[in-house]
């Protein structure tokens, strides 16, 4: 086993309930962040979002 393979190897049978909870939360947060980035950056959202920045200039 190479050093890299060894570094990333995981003993799945030794995973505790807390380990699984942490892993699932981490993966869900990664997916959530990817979805948030996709939502904000898709071209069809551009006008809707960028229009918001002008409103603050006339609020008082």
């Amino acid at each position: 086993m190479s050093n890299i393979q060894q570094y990333f190897s995981t003993d799945w049978s030794a995973m505790t309930g807390q380990d699984w909870a942490g892993l699932i939360i981490t993966v869900l947060i990664f997916i959530g962040m990817a979805v948030a980035f996709w939502w904000a950056l898709r071209p069809s959202k551009r006008k809707e979002l960028e229009d918001q920045k002008f409103k603050v200039l006339n609020d008082d």
Binding site: F37, R46, E50, D51, Q52, F54, V56, D60
Partner: protein, 477 residues
């Protein structure tokens, strides 16, 4: 107490109260910090008075600048901006006043108890348990009022909630959660309690809170200030609204993982420190995205920095934000951390963020609010310029002194002679720090002097505005 004359549609009385107190606490907090810095250079300044020895004064300083100055600024700006961005008064002005008064009393009690040596002994979470609970209640009142104000807006005229409110809300929710969990303790007397966590779990929870106090209280909250006050002061829209959305979500998703980088080379499992360092390095991207978003707001109008001294504070704050959000991740990497941890470099890093970013963006926002709230120009724009240079030079002196001192400390502590013995004793490293501690004190004196100039300018501005109002009323009578 509400003396608002110019903007009757908003509840500005409580904002005025919080804004002025924030400046007062800025003076007090930096004064304590400078005195503590002087004690490190000249220990005789302890005067053998227990209440002002470094151990107590340092905690009084951190609590005053973070929670009193920072907290008051966050409350003032949140109550100010939520009304304007949503076109509505506060959901409850009475609740806002209750929050502000209770917070003031709590902060005064905090300073008294800390000076008497009453503490939980947890970094940035020192208050004894009754005050701890009181602070949590005040924070929930503040959050509830903020949320209800947004919820009460007219959804037809204000369908979208401006991004500064997202940052404020993220800060409020996360700080509630972090503060309460880290503060979980079993009281054994009126003034003493024991944390429910112990050992390595206690350390992990402590730094989960500790770094996220930086991430959410001192970053997200003050980014909310940046996203409102930079466009307002520059009179230009923020460079990219979409980038601000990305900045928000990246911060919310990413920041909570960083705390373990405070515990490299400890009993904590090695992978947790590595995870903290990796995510810290990844956070450079959104942090710099946010800093650039603020700075590029000035695209095509950079010349305004020559004449607008308030804008200078705001943009200089972003430069320090960019610098400290690069420095922090670099320091979290294990190789650098082996040198930097436990040295003055950490203190320098904290203050490049605290003085350069948090204080300067707050100062810019406070000057902006003072003029709007009292519907007047500042008493002296030249004094603002003077304040800017005092603050900037003071901050640079401080952090340069701590960089040199910290790196020298780290190198001295790890130096070995040809026999494998430590080359320097700890006392020798302390003696070598003296010139830099003096230099740091001078930086602190400059920064504190700037805060005093600000307080004078603010007081004179308010007096001037009140005199104008009185003469206007007399002329109309």
């Amino acid at each position: 107490m509400d003396t608002t004359m110019t903007k009757p549609q908003y509840d500005d009385g409580v904002v005025k109260y919080l804004t002025v107190l924030a400046v007062v606490f800025l003076v007090l907090g930096t004064l304590m910090g400078t005195f503590a810095a002087a004690q490190l250079a000249w220990p005789a300044l302890n005067f053998d008075i227990a209440e002002i020895t470094f151990a107590r004064l340092r905690v009084m300083h951190t609590n005053t600048v973070i929670f009193a100055f920072g907290g008051m600024t966050l409350m003032a700006t949140a109550f100010y901006t939520v009304q304007r961005t949503n076109g509505i008064k506060l959901w409850s002005n009475n609740m806002a006043w209750t929050t502000a008064i209770l917070f003031t009393i709590g902060l005064l009690l905090a300073v008294i108890t800390l000076s008497l040596g009453m503490t939980q002994g947890k970094e940035y979470h020192e208050l004894i348990w009754p005050l701890d609970i009181a602070v949590a209640i005040v924070w929930v009142l503040y959050t509830f009022n903020f949320v209800m104000t947004i919820a009460s807006r007219n959804k037809e005229t204000h369908s979208h909630v401006y991004v500064s409110n997202w940052f404020f809300l993220g800060m409020m929710i996360m700080i509630t959660y972090l503060y309460v969990v880290n503060g979980l303790a079993i009281p054994v007397s009126l003034f003493q309690s024991y944390s429910i966590f112990s050992g390595v779990q206690d350390a992990m929870i402590q730094w989960w809170w500790g770094h996220n106090a930086v991430g959410f209280f001192l970053t997200a909250g003050f980014l909310a200030i940046m996203y409102y006050f930079v466009p307002k002061q520059a009179q230009r829209p923020v460079y990219s609204y979409r980038l601000s959305v990305i900045h928000f979500w990246a911060l919310m998703f990413g920041y909570v993982w960083l705390g373990a980088h405070h515990l490299q080379y400890t009993a904590l499992p090695d992978w947790t420190g590595s995870l903290g360092a990796v995510i810290s390095l990844a956070m450079i991207i959104p942090s710099w995205g946010g800093a650039l978003n603020g700075m590029l707001t000035l695209s095509g109008a950079w010349d305004r920095l020559r004449t607008d001294y308030i804008l200078r504070f705001l943009i200089m704050a972003l430069a320090f934000y960019a610098m400290s959000t690069f420095e922090g991740p670099v320091m979290s990497a294990k190789t650098v951390n082996a040198l930097s941890h436990y040295t003055d470099w950490t203190i320098g890093h904290v203050h490049s963020g605290a003085l350069g970013w948090v204080a300067m963006v707050s100062i810019g926002a406070i000057y902006h609010m003072i003029m709007k709230l009292w519907n007047t120009e500042m008493y002296s724009m030249r004094l603002i310029n003077f304040h800017f240079w005092l603050a900037t030079i003071g901050t640079v002196l401080y952090i340069v002194a701590m960089w040199v001192s910290g790196i020298m400390q780290g190198l001295m502590w790890r130096a070995y002679d040809e026999y494998g013995m430590l080359a320097y004793t700890f006392a020798e490293s302390v003696a070598a720090m003296h010139p830099y501690y003096v230099m740091r004190t001078i930086g602190g004196i400059l920064f504190t002097s700037g805060a005093v100039v600000m307080l004078y300018n603010v007081v004179m501005t308010i007096k001037m505005a009140q005199a104008k109002q009185t003469s206007a009323v007399a002329a109309n009578a």
